[in-house]
């Protein structure tokens, strides 16, 4: 079938089934060829590797790594390669859709962009009239065009622009910011001793820094100490694996501090010059002995002492690595603070093989018309309940609670960009309830996510290989400014987020705030890049990066850390003023009752993000998720590998197959994220396996408001 005929057919009536007619290879669109590759930037994870898109007759033939970006380490991971399949995915969103049946029924009416814009703008205006602009919620995940979505929400007058960090790393970024005034990078390429807790870096997300870590441990024989209740791929490659009792990482770190400080193994000169609160810290950690920690963590005291000594001896080329993982417990912020303090006292700050403050690449900024600040305060009450958190990002789970209660005011319109709250937030039942109580839900995405499946209007965004985006600075030890330029013309009737924002802005009377083109935006940014003819350079190379790391720039007496005192704050007055522990205090986590298990989660590098499980190349490696359970409880419950299980928590119940394995502690069960989709347009994972978000209960870290994902106890039995 010709593409045009197909699209005309789509326009003819209501769509009940996924648009299967378009084969995976997609239509042949004659167009230019570029065998050297068009320099652009991957969008499939936050690392943003540089790549070269090889194009033959207007079609993407292959994606190659772009060796010009030192930060990308000349690699493109499995996800990065599979991006081609997103473009030619027959399940992709191909034109705007308006819901034709009940929410979630899967009946859609393909419409023109004008109709979709008019429809959404009228709904938004109605909500604004009745509830004020604060009656709208604008939530999004990071991406180079996210800025246009956020700006639309702000220009509309809503204080409720909600970003993703409290579903991700907010507890970590806040803890390191509180201590150092910034979030540093870890020099894994040069570290000799790395401790990692619960961040399964060899298996869950492969990025160039994973390669640094693998290179470090495999080639240079750096030591890797790994703590995890599960025997992961990282555990298998580590020098030591300790199946720590879940929720007790803080006890382990405090005991390490106890050993290092009482044995005076810390870097005295560094502590004296750069830090504040050492005396209080010393007193604070005295009760946290290795013998005490052994009872909490189930790691022998002798091992804790040995690891603490080896860590201090290896410093400054030693790091307690924060990893890239979300937050597990309600004390995650304080656990991260303890990590930061431990790193600080051994003096690994701004040293080769240690923790290095991020450098940036200078770039210009496009100056756009500023809007009035919103009159209402945020519905999540972040400033009151989480005064230290990033108020611009908001706190997602407390926000959902307030929206469901209708306090402090009703929120009745929800615009969502590039995010799938049905899977990104714990307790899917509550997210569904939140959707159902909205007068209007609009989603911008490239595929029919589960959240889109329940929306009223779906705006199909052009794929990243089909668009040009703002230049983005990726700070780090090897900082880079990267450019994403269009490699192929949009295959379907899709638009970039800027055009979608402009379409809506026009109808909402907000055009003045969006009266520019992407080219003008990018040119303003390119003007101040530290290379001659910035724009031309970016078109040709796609990146401006620095080869050579710089160490020690902040190790001088005049440097002022961006903290209240200007020093590295071991003791934090700011925490104390906000009513939190100024030094990390340990409280033992609740344990699952005899007939229950702690549900722990994880990812696999081919499908780190839930949006990727439907792509054929990636799905081939991950067909379905299952529930890991230790042979001991499995025998007690008469469970064998392959049995269908019923798993339930106070939030919900799912059915999932069993995997009986000794590679997990007997008090935990584990499942992979990203399965059990409700959207029939994600055909490979529709009703396949189970969604962890159905089971996860609502819990958050007390200081940052970050969702705490390992606080759920589940009951397991045969279905």
């Amino acid at each position: 079938m010709e593409r045009r005929t197909f699209i005309e057919l789509l326009g003819a009536g209501t769509l009940l089934v996924p648009p299967l007619a378009c084969k995976l290879r997609g239509p042949i669109a004659a167009g230019p060829t570029n065998l050297n590759g068009i320099p652009t930037t991957c969008e499939l994870c936050p690392n943003k590797c540089s790549l070269l898109a090889v194009v033959k007759e207007g079609r993407l033939a292959k994606l190659n790594p772009n060796p010009e970006n030192p930060k990308s380490r000349a690699m493109l991971c499995a996800r990065g390669n599979a991006a081609i399949q997103q473009v030619y995915d027959p399940d992709r969103l191909k034109q705007p859709l308006i819901r034709a049946g009940e929410r979630g029924e899967g009946k859609w009416r393909p419409v023109s962009w004008d109709e979709a814009f008019d429809f959404a703008a009228n709904k938004l205006k109605a909500v604004k009239e009745k509830h004020g602009p604060e009656g709208s919620l604008w939530s999004s995940t990071e991406g180079f065009q996210e800025v246009f979505f956020k700006n639309l929400g702000q220009a509309f007058g809503s204080p409720n622009v909600m970003r993703h960090p409290t579903l991700c790393l907010a507890s970590m970024t806040l803890a390191y910011s509180t201590t150092f005034g910034t979030v540093p990078s870890f020099d894994l390429l040069n570290a000799d001793y790395v401790i990692m807790a619960g961040a399964n870096r060899f298996e869950s997300i492969i990025t160039p820094d994973t390669m640094d870590l693998i290179g470090g441990t495999m080639e240079r024989k750096a030591k890797l100490i790994y703590l995890d209740p599960r025997f992961t791929v990282t555990a298998s490659k580590a020098d030591e694996w300790h199946p720590i009792k879940p929720g007790t990482d803080l006890a382990f770190i405090l005991a390490m501090l106890n050993v290092i400080l009482t044995e005076e193994r810390h870097d005295k000169a560094f502590v004296e010059t750069y830090t504040l609160g050492f005396e209080q810290l010393l007193e604070h950690v005295k009760p946290y002995t290795p013998a005490w920690a052994e009872k909490e963590t189930e790691i022998p005291a002798a091992d804790i002492t040995r690891i603490a000594r080896a860590f201090a001896d290896a410093a400054p080329r030693a790091v307690f690595y924060a990893g890239r993982r979300s937050s597990w417990y309600t004390n995650d912020f304080q656990m991260r603070r303890a990590q930061a303090i431990l790193n600080a006292v051994v003096g690994n700050w701004d040293r080769e093989g240690g923790m290095v403050p991020n450098r940036k690449v200078a770039k210009g900024e496009f100056t756009f018309m500023p809007w009035d600040d919103p009159k209402a305060s945020r519905v999540d009450e972040v400033e009151k309940a989480f005064p230290l958190a990033n108020a611009k990002d908001g706190v997602y789970l407390p926000l959902r609670e307030n929206v469901l209660k209708g306090t402090p005011y009703p929120v009745k319109a929800w615009m969502i960009y590039k995010q799938d709250p049905m899977h990104a937030l714990p307790d899917q039942g509550k997210t569904l309830e939140m959707i159902q109580q909205m007068d209007f839900v609009g989603v911008v995405d490239i595929a029919m996510s589960d959240t889109a499946w329940y929306a009223d209007v779906v705006f199909p965004e052009s794929h990243y290989l089909e668009r040009t985006d703002p230049i983005e600075v990726m700070p780090g030890i090897w900082p880079a400014a990267v450019y994403r330029q269009q490699a192929v013309k949009p295959l379907h009737d899709t638009k970039p987020m800027l055009d979608i924002a402009q379409g809506l802005a026009k109808r909402l009377g907000l055009s003045d705030y969006f009266d520019y083109t992407i080219e003008q935006w990018v040119e303003a940014e390119a003007k101040e890049l530290p290379v001659p003819n910035g724009m031309e350079h970016m078109r040709k190379h796609g990146v401006v990066g620095f080869e050579k790391p710089k160490y020690g720039t902040t190790r001088n007496a005049v440097h002022r850390f961006v903290t209240k005192s200007g020093k590295i704050e071991l003791f934090s007055e700011r925490l104390q003023e906000a009513g939190h522990d100024p030094l990390p205090v340990y409280t033992a986590p609740a344990q699952p009752p005899a007939n229950k298990f702690r549900l722990i989660l994880g990812r696999k590098a081919t499908i780190t993000h839930a949006a990727l499980t439907n792509l054929p190349w990636l799905h081939e490696h991950n067909r379905e998720n299952d529930l890991w359970i230790h042979p001991e409880p499995a025998a007690r419950l008469n469970i064998q590998t392959g049995d269908l299980l019923e798993v339930s928590s106070t939030a919900g119940t799912v059915k999932i197959k069993a995997r009986v394995t000794p590679e997990i502690r007997p008090d935990c069960v584990f499942m992979l994220h990203g399965f059990g989709k409700k959207s029939a347009w994600l055909r490979r994972v529709h009703n396949v396996g189970a969604a962890d978000s159905i089971l996860l209960e609502t819990a958050w870290d007390k200081v940052s408001g970050n969702a705490a994902l390992h606080e759920t106890f589940v009951k397991v039995g045969k279905a």
């Binding site: 936050p46 999004s140 995940t141 990071e142 991406g143 996210e146 800025v147 956020k150 702000q154 970003r163 993703h164 960090p165 991700c168 790393l169 907010a170 970024t173 806040l174 390191y176 910011s177 509180t178 005034g181 910034t182 979030v183 200078a362 900024e365 100056t367 018309m369 500023p370 809007w371 009035d372 600040d373 230290l388 958190a389 990033n390 611009k392 990002d393 003045d512 009266d515 002022r560 961006v562 903290t563 209240k564 005192s565 200007g566 700011r574």
Partner: protein, 111 residues
Amino acid sequence: MRSLRLIPLGLWALLLLLGASVQAGEAKGSDTKGKFFFKKSCKACHMDGGSAKALTPLSKTQAQWRKFFDAGKHKGEALSPKLGTPAQLLDIKTFLINHASDSPQPETCGG
């Protein structure tokens, strides 16, 4: 571009004259607009390679920024109207104090 809808000038002028600073219970300008006016009015000279020393909010502490605005002088000349209307200056002051080197600045991921 449409001209900005500005906050009534008289009120802000009065507050500035009284030496108001952005502390609890005190007048606040707009952070968003402050960033815009800072770029327009200050960054024109105070940038790398510019005619004056590069400046960012991090260049001073909150108290230092307060002191600067309370003194109300730039090279011996009154800040307003040279660098903007009183309302615009309050916006700039709000932005600079909110992002000063000792202000709480939790970082974010992406975006």
